[in-house]
Point group: C2
Chain length 208, copies 2
């Protein structure tokens, strides 16, 4: 199936928003990429905000999909968590778009009307936290503690994804690709260490 003009516009908008942010991209920029006038774009998306909103919805549903994929696998909870988080590390560099847009949303959504960042994130965090609480080694952690640990793992994965343009600039393409592979392995090791070890529980008497 050849993609419709609408779909193509959405795809390049996603790329450009990921690269330069909401305010860094004009609708004319996006339309230009296809040799169209900006009014052609406004024919499909009534406002810039609506266009951006559709991309956020798209991303939210991708995340939902990743979550349910990982959780329906029937493996033990630690393994489910591992799959979900590992899936967030980009296999190839183009995969960083989603992470970069979400990071921008995380930074911005206090100010722009779109609070999509918040509404997708809350249930997402809740679901993962609930999954995490069924991990044996974490059974003694409070909700807040569990959330904190989850957030650390999410941070490790997403920070790396988001750093792609910069790390590529610093180390070059070859080294960046190598780093990606090593990072993925080390990240698995980190999850194993954290889901099996005891150190995380030592504070349990302090924060019951």
């Amino acid at each position: 199936m050849t993609p419709t003009t609408r779909q193509q516009l959405l795809a390049t908008a996603r790329t450009l928003f990921a690269d330069r942010g909401f305010y860094g991209v004009s609708i004319a920029n996006i339309a230009d990429e296809h040799g169209l006038s900006k009014q052609a774009l406004l024919h499909y998306f009534p406002t810039k905000e609506k266009l951006y909103g559709e991309i956020l919805k798209e991303i939210a549903s991708e995340l939902e999909q990743m979550k349910s994929d990982a959780m329906s696998s029937g493996a033990d909870p630690a393994e489910q968590l591992k799959r979900l988080l590992s899936g967030m590390i980009p296999a190839h560099p183009a995969d960083t778009e989603r992470a970069r847009i979400l990071m921008r949303e995380l930074l911005d959504n206090k100010h722009r009307a779109e609070t999509v960042g918040a509404w997708y994130l809350k249930p997402f965090l809740e679901d993962i936290t609930n999954l995490a609480k069924t991990i044996p080694a974490w059974s003694n952690l409070s909700d807040t503690q569990t959330l904190a640990v989850i957030y650390q793992l999410l941070g490790a994965a997403n920070y790396f994804s988001v750093s792609e343009p910069t790390l590529r600039g610093i180390f070059g393409k070859r080294n960046y690709v190598a780093l990606t592979r090593v990072f993925a392995t080390q990240f698995d090791a980190l999850i194993d260490a954290v889901t099996s070890g005891s150190p995380l529980q030592k504070e349990k008497t302090i924060y019951p």
Copy 2:
């Protein structure tokens, strides 16, 4: 000492750039905050880029300071690393400005001429990596592996810092402050787990 107009402008520019990003803030916005015209601002800073550049320099030197503070403490390397990374977690919410600006830089610096994000980051990563390699538990790790682990810890800390506006929006101020405290403790536990454990070395034969 009462701050000069120039210093005040720099401070509010820093806040606004952290909140809305380079393209999301106009020089008029910044000047308005002090009841000044934008030309008053241009009197102190010849261009918007120069103003932004000064903020980046300021931040880079703060980071340098944090690094040398942690490293001159004379403690063992794992403890030094712990101090440096823990210092990146905001003690009070206003401390997230630096992390948010750096995150935006990480996302953007492929496109805007300022490559400050890159030039500060490279030596910073190198220094930390060299420090990390002297941690006994990590002596068998390759440079790339060490960097990957460091990056995971940096990610855990910075991702949380950057999420402040959103997490506050989701959980409210009270809960966010509580989460910050728990996060700090768990983060210390994470570093302990990672700097003392063996799991991280198990891949050493694969990536020598």
